[in-house]
Amino acid sequence: MNDLSASSRINYQAVMVRPSVERRIRGLSDKALAWLFITPTIVLLLAINIFPLLWTIYLSFTNYRANRPNAPTIWLGTDWYQSILTDPDIWAAMQVTAHFVIWTVVIETVLGFGLAFLIDKKFRGHGIWTTIILLPMMLSPAVVGNFWTFLYQPQIGLFNYVVAFFTSGDASSFQMLGDVRLSPWAIVIVDAWMWTPYVMLICLAGLRSIPDYIYEAAEVDRASKWRQFWSITLPMALPFIMLAVLFRGIENFKMFDMVNLLTGGGPGSTTEVASITLKRAAFESWRTGYSSAFAIILFVTVFGLANIYVKALNKVKSR
């Protein structure tokens, strides 16, 4: 790297005379090239994301049904929004989502930060073990989530066997996926298993971004380890923790695949998170207008949170 920077310093002389250089360049101007490079991406996103979004907004004001494309479309105004935002069933689905989001984020943050804190002690072989821990988050939530239904089987499932072994209970006495009280926790467990590594990885970056000299200064001041943790480690890692919390919050707010395969929203509607409700309305009852309005409500929420996320991202970036 050193010899490269030396050569670039020489080139810096040349940069000073850039205007005359640019006039000599044949071909496209920078401005034209910039647009040539950026436009294809923007066009694709407009076609596959923005146009459908605008269409959804339009449909959310109508009574359109995808299974009756030829029926006359009637403009309904904000009727769907009003009915969704006063519907106790949808409200209940939002609370199921809240239970899922809050508990997964809390468990993943505590476990993830704890693991990062331990890994940051740099014991022998921490690189290999970190890679092993990271594996679950790279795998397909759908395919692995599906396999958890096997682990959760009452009699034959490994999960039930292990729990029964440690509590000396009966492995067939409880059903993680069939019980109204347990199923909301069944999905929390799988999500925490998959995504704790995600929080861990970001927290680890946060811990490693804290310069050693701050701890050295604290040692000189004879601050206790406990004090160092609360007044140095945690505050300085906080932007990173926030980043992880926000992203997991957004992702789990719109969680679909894992829950759809584990419980499909059941038993009853005890695990019917917002995306499952939306899927049922859109692709099972074919209430397209209604589900479009619901989709917009979810989208606005995610979009608002995405603004905060990008702000958090920039905060971390400046470190």
Binding site: L4, N11, V15, L28, A34, L36, F37, I38, T41, N49, I50, F51, P52, W55, A66, L111, K122, F123, H126, T130, T131, P136, M138, L139, P141, A142, V143, V144, N146, F147, F150, L151, Q155, I156, L158, Y161, P197, L201, I202, L204, A205, D212, Y213, E219, L243, I250, F256, D257, L261, S275, K279, A282, T288, S292, L298, V302, F303, A306, V310, L313
Partner: protein
Amino acid sequence: MTSANAAHSVVEPSAVVRRFAGSLVVLYAIITMIPLVWIGLTAFKSPDDAISYPPKVLFKPSLEGFCNLFTTRSRQTPDFIKTLGPPQGLCDSIARSRNMVVAGPSNYVPRFFNSLIIAFGSTVLAVALGTLSAYGFSRFRVPLKGDLLFFILSTRMMPPIAVAIPIYLMYRTVGLSDTRLGMILLYTSVNVSLAVWLLKGFIDEIPREYEEAAMIDGYTRFQAFVKVVLPQATTGIAATAIFCLIFAWNEYAFAVLLTSGNAQTAPPFIPIIIGEGGQDWPAVAAGTTLFLVPIVVFTVLLRKHLLRGITFGAVRK
């Protein structure tokens, strides 16, 4: 670098602390690996071993799961089976021991093949578009740059189900529903945001002076991009490609809602592998194992860049 050496005395944890931290992490790693190991073990179990109580850790390995994954079978009477010639291959003899004959190949291979085509197709497109845009955003003064970049990222944040409704209608109108091309375009649009953000980070790190020197030597801007920047960005492009590949490979929500047969990928197919009387768990496990192995390999290859990938390039070290 120097501070790390100087810090050795005060800041470095003691051997006891290290060993304690290490053992806790190893314990967590082992617990977290159990479900994955169990998938691998179940793939090699016979159906009886798979559903035994208590769950079997030691068992006689069997390839029945893989056979059931790749074939469809039909039940026959023992008398009929006796009239057939000798079994053709291992799977046929396993099937005959259960009073069945192999009827034909299953849909797993076509679904796996769809996954491959769609994942690679969308990755190539997303990385190509992403590299161009990332270079544009990195090097040129683009009006509303911040807003455009946020717009690009926000498209990735959209809930898939919310997008799936109009995409379904749109694809139905233009005839792209349940086609590989439709899925490739869809996954490209989701991946391109990640590609732009990640690659912008990688290209930002390449000194501008390289291209400027090349341009003084008579290259046009475009030639400088192709001959100077692209070779420098190879690592970044490879890492980005693997991230896009993993996303497209793993994706389930769009696949299950928008494809039914022709373009269906493996994730929506594996959960519906059914044997006689419920799910055929060894076959599901075998399908899952084959599906996960590439990802495990990629994760190990990618481990240095994982952090960058999951924070859209914001956190680099």
